[in-house]
């Protein structure tokens, strides 16, 4: 069992790296604090006749432990920002992407494909439920909305999560890097069957996907 | 109480008169269709803030209070601005 689910999208690896970096940094701090704590508990445990030192503080020490976290935090923030804007900033979405429409409703996902002409909003569009088929190694941008309550599109293997909000068009993208089937879940409490609102994303080799699209999903 | 002695009596009727004039001006401007919307909104909000400040400063005697009372009274205002502006940014896209 891996700690993080197998990564299968273009930006998953970079996001995981930030996760591990933060884990390393916070892990070091955590171990440092806990070890110091235990050491102090043993070393300075109360004994008869001993007296605590009357120390009210140390400006130098406090400056040090203000500056060090600040520097670490800035580093983490800068690293995070790169992936964030890559994943979430619509201005930086990949250009030659396949566009899909996704509508969430209690308790299903409906995915509308552009059909053979590659254009959404035309007559040959077709819709499938709870199964998103996408080509491998090609970016997929999807326009998401919801028919009722707030849902959240979550494919753990792709590290993508985006809320579907009624009345809004939220956009997200991913590029699958490995052929296979991945589970799709709703991550935002959306009603009685929230926990059962699942689907899958099927990543096909590009030619197979083109054929499927041309055949109107047959 | 020492504050009572320190307090000058402002001319309350003059403030009242000023508030009335400002209200009339506001209503007049609102009916004027000549101004562009953005200018109109800016002017009207400006007038409203002016009126509100008059009430707070003179009728609520903030002008004659200590600084810390003024700070206490204005503490929530930045929060109100932060809330509204940040959410409006959502729609500025």
């Amino acid at each position: 069992m891996d700690w993080l689910p197998g990564a299968a999208s273009s930006y998953a690896a970079e996001l995981d790296t930030i996760f591990w970096v933060i884990l390393a940094v916070t892990g070091i701090v955590l171990v440092g604090v806990q070890v110091t704590l235990v050491y102090f508990l043993v070393k300075y445990r109360g004994r008869e006749g001993r007296r605590a030192s009357y120390v009210e503080g140390s400006t130098k020490a406090e400056v040090i432990w203000t500056v060090i976290p600040a520097v670490l935090i800035v580093g983490i923030a800068v690293a995070s920002q790169r992936v964030w804007s890559q994943v979430k900033n619509p201005d930086r979405f990949p250009a030659d992407a396949l566009e899909l429409n996704v509508e969430a409703r209690q308790f299903a996902w409906s995915i509308t494909y552009p059909g053979p002409d590659g254009e959404l909003g035309t007559e040959d569009d077709f819709t499938r439920y709870n199964e998103m088929r996408v080509p491998v190694n090609r970016p997929v941008v999807f326009n998401m909305t919801s028919a009722d309550v707030v849902h959240s599109f979550f494919v753990p293997a792709f590290r993508i999560k985006q809320d579907a909000v009624p009345g809004l068009n939220t956009r997200a993208w991913f590029e699958a890097t490995e052929v296979g089937e991945y589970e799709l879940a709703c991550a935002e409490l959306c009603g009685v069957a929230h926990g059962l609102m699942k689907g899958k994303v099927v990543v096909l080799p590009q030619d197979e996907f083109e054929g499927w699209l041309a055949g109107l999903g047959e | 109480m020492e504050m009572v002695e320190k307090k000058k009596q402002p001319n309350y009727y003059f403030i009242w008169f000023l508030l009335l004039v400002l209200t009339v001006v506001e209503v007049g401007i609102a009916y004027l269709s000549g101004l562009p919307r953005s200018v109109l909104i800016l002017v009207l909000v400006g007038l409203a803030i002016w009126k509100a400040t008059l009430v707070a400063m003179y009728y609520m005697h903030l002008r004659f209070e200590r600084l810390r009372v003024i700070l206490l009274a204005s503490a929530p205002l930045p929060l109100a601005v932060i809330l509204v502006l940040a959410i409006l940014l959502e729609y500025a896209r």
């Binding site: 996760f19 704590l37 004994r47 809320d163 009345g167 069957a193 | -």
Partner: protein, 579 residues
């Protein structure tokens, strides 16, 4: 204990006539009685919240199996459990336990005031809280079931009865929250006025104990944050009942507006839940270490900084909501910034223990537990603050682990420390130390066994609030871990029995407490346990800060705030506040 009788004017408190039981213990205006009333009421809600937690954990550990005595948890009931567990714990257990109990009990005693500024409003605050709790509890039993939209009540799910199948329950939830807001408002007005105006002579702001600083700042946050929630739930109520569309996309409403309003309240609320805990812990650690708090001034500044930053970070709850990505960046930065004052506090607690003479009484053990667990909770917060990592772990068990490390490992540990620490003052009897230590050990162990594995679930992508994890193939390998967590949670619940037994046994049979059993410096320890009505026979005069432990100037290792040393007698005049 030396008092400076000649210099202090007697307090104008003539309440010496015998009061009836009802006036004295039920509709009392004495802040100490009101604090104790809050204690009993919110401990009851804490137990209720715990029972709900066990039921929902059962479903996650043993999905679809009948729980003994309860039966199979149905999906709708599961959502109700999730919702009501969060609601009760946040609004009716942790918040009143910290603010209702200890702000009420400690503020007048620790600043040397006879009572709150507005004793009758204080009583009203408690009784509105009780009503609010009754309404909330009632929502569990009404037709249509309890609210199931989560404690965050995201619209439109919470706004349209058809979406959850709950209507009356959700409306009662809203009414209860509005009542709760009124109660909290009355409390906050009281605490703020009291701290500003009713400090004893010499009790300057920077001689106040950190617990009072934290409770004061918390009261300001609550004063300004809770009305936003009240406004939001009122709009939600109209959506529910009058057919308005504030949060519904039909006719131009804005579902995200709810999230903004809720979290604009909700994030400061998080600090309402942790700041008083930090303050209480500072007091207890200084006492247990027999040393002054390391860097008192920076501790105060850190409290203020956290309180201020808390207002500009709410958006990190909404990173995945489709918000403007630029806002996402700024909210990440402000959120990350909070790590700095939090880190200062943790290091200063360690600094306080450094070269101390540690006494491991039960409150100190819980305080140490707090430092240890809060560090984990604080550090795991950095994962969520990072907007890109949050894409993956948002709404997973990583968040659940984080919030429980902060609210249980943090706040609740501090509450336990406070219960043991001030029990002698409240009831005039000591709690049993041995059982207290057993309670601590069991709680600490089972706490970690319950909540630490949740980080692993979260890393695996385990969504929160789902009814049956086994429905997902990728979560099936985690089912043994889920079972393990559930069993640990049940044991954690059982581990609270020593507290209950100890509490009630000590109430009647505990060793009689002297005035200052912990050899502490605070003003509350200069009066009898429990203190008389009106608290102080004469207004105390304060000569120094609250943390003069092991001062080289005296032989004992503590130096109460109101004891003058040689040459400290040139005080002129006395009395404060009430001009």
């Amino acid at each position: 204990m030396a008092t400076v009788e000649a210099m202090a004017a007697p307090l104008a408190h003539g309440h010496h006539e015998e009061m009836s039981f009802v006036r004295k213990y039920i509709f009392s205006t004495d802040h100490k009685i009101i604090g104790i009333q809050f204690l009993f009421a919110s401990l009851a809600f804490l137990a209720l919240g715990g029972v709900l937690a066990i039921m929902l954990r059962w479903q996650l550990g043993f999905p679809g199996e009948a729980m003994p005595g309860v039966g199979v948890v149905a999906p709708k009931f599961y959502n109700a459990l999730v919702t009501m567990h969060g609601t009760f714990m946040v609004f009716f257990a942790v918040m009143p336990l910290l603010v209702g109990v200890y702000a009420n009990y400690l503020i007048p005693l620790k600043i040397g005031a006879p009572d709150m500024a507005f004793p009758r409003l204080n009583m009203l605050s408690f009784w509105i809280f009780v009503q609010s709790g009754i309404v909330m509890t009632a929502s569990l039993f009404v037709e249509g079931g309890a609210p199931g939209a989560g404690w965050t009540a995201y619209a439109p799910l919470s706004a349209v009865p058809q979406y959850t199948g709950v209507s009356l329950g959700q409306q009662l939830w809203i009414i209860s929250i509005v009542l709760f807001g009124a109660s909290s408002l009355l409390g906050s007005v009281n605490y703020i006025t009291t701290v500003i105006n009713m400090r004893a002579p010499g009790m300057t702001l920077f001689r106040m104990p950190l617990s009072i600083w934290a409770l004061f700042i918390t009261a300001i946050i609550a004063l300004l944050a809770v009305p936003i929630l009240a406004a939001a739930v009122i709009l939600l109520f109209f959506d529910q009942t009058l057919g308005t569309t504030f949060f519904l996309p039909a006719d131009g409403g804005q579902p995200l507006l709810w999230q903004h309003l809720f979290w604009f309240f909700g994030h400061p609320e998080v600090y309402i839940l942790i700041l008083p805990a930090m303050g209480i812990i500072s007091d207890v650690i200084a006492n247990g270490s027999r040393k002054p708090v390391f860097g008192y001034h920076s501790m105060v500044l850190a409290i203020i900084a956290i309180a201020f930053l808390g207002w500009i970070t709410w958006g990190h709850h909404m990173f995945q909501s489709g918000m403007n990505p630029l806002l996402g960046t700024s909210f990440m930065i402000s959120t990350m910034a909070i790590a700095i004052p939090s880190a200062i506090k943790v290091f200063n607690w360690l600094g306080t223990m450094w070269r101390g003479n540690l006494r491991f009484h039960t409150p100190m053990l819980f305080a140490i537990g707090f430092v240890s667990l809060f560090t984990i909770g604080g550090l795991s917060g950095i994962f969520m603050a990072s907007n890109s990592v949050d894409i993956f772990i948002h709404d997973t068990y990583f968040i659940v682990a984080h919030i429980h490390y902060v609210l249980f490992g943090g706040s609740l540990m501090a509450i336990f420390a406070a219960i043991y620490f001030w029990f002698p003052k409240m009831f005039g009897r000591m709690m049993n130390e041995a059982w207290g230590k057993i309670h601590f050990a069991l709680t600490f162990i089972f706490y970690n066994l319950t909540f630490f594995p949740m980080h692993i679930l979260g890393m695996g992508g385990h969504m929160r609030r789902i009814y049956d994890p086994t429905q997902y193939e990728f979560l099936q390998p985690y089912q043994p871990l889920n079972k393990f967590i559930t069993i640990s949670a049940i044991l954690l619940f059982v581990a609270q029995l020593p507290l209950i037994a100890n509490f009630f046994w000590s109430l009647f049979r505990g060793k009689k407490a002297e005035a200052n059993p912990w050899r502490d410096n605070g003003l509350e320890w200069t009066v009898a346990s429990p203190p008389p009505h009106g608290n102080f026979a004469v207004t105390p005069i304060v000569y120094r800060g609250p943390y003069e432990f092991s001062s080289p100037e005296v032989e004992e290792d503590y130096l109460p705030q109101d004891v003058p040393l040689n040459g400290e007698r040139e005080v002129v005049g006395a009395g404060v506040g009430e001009e």
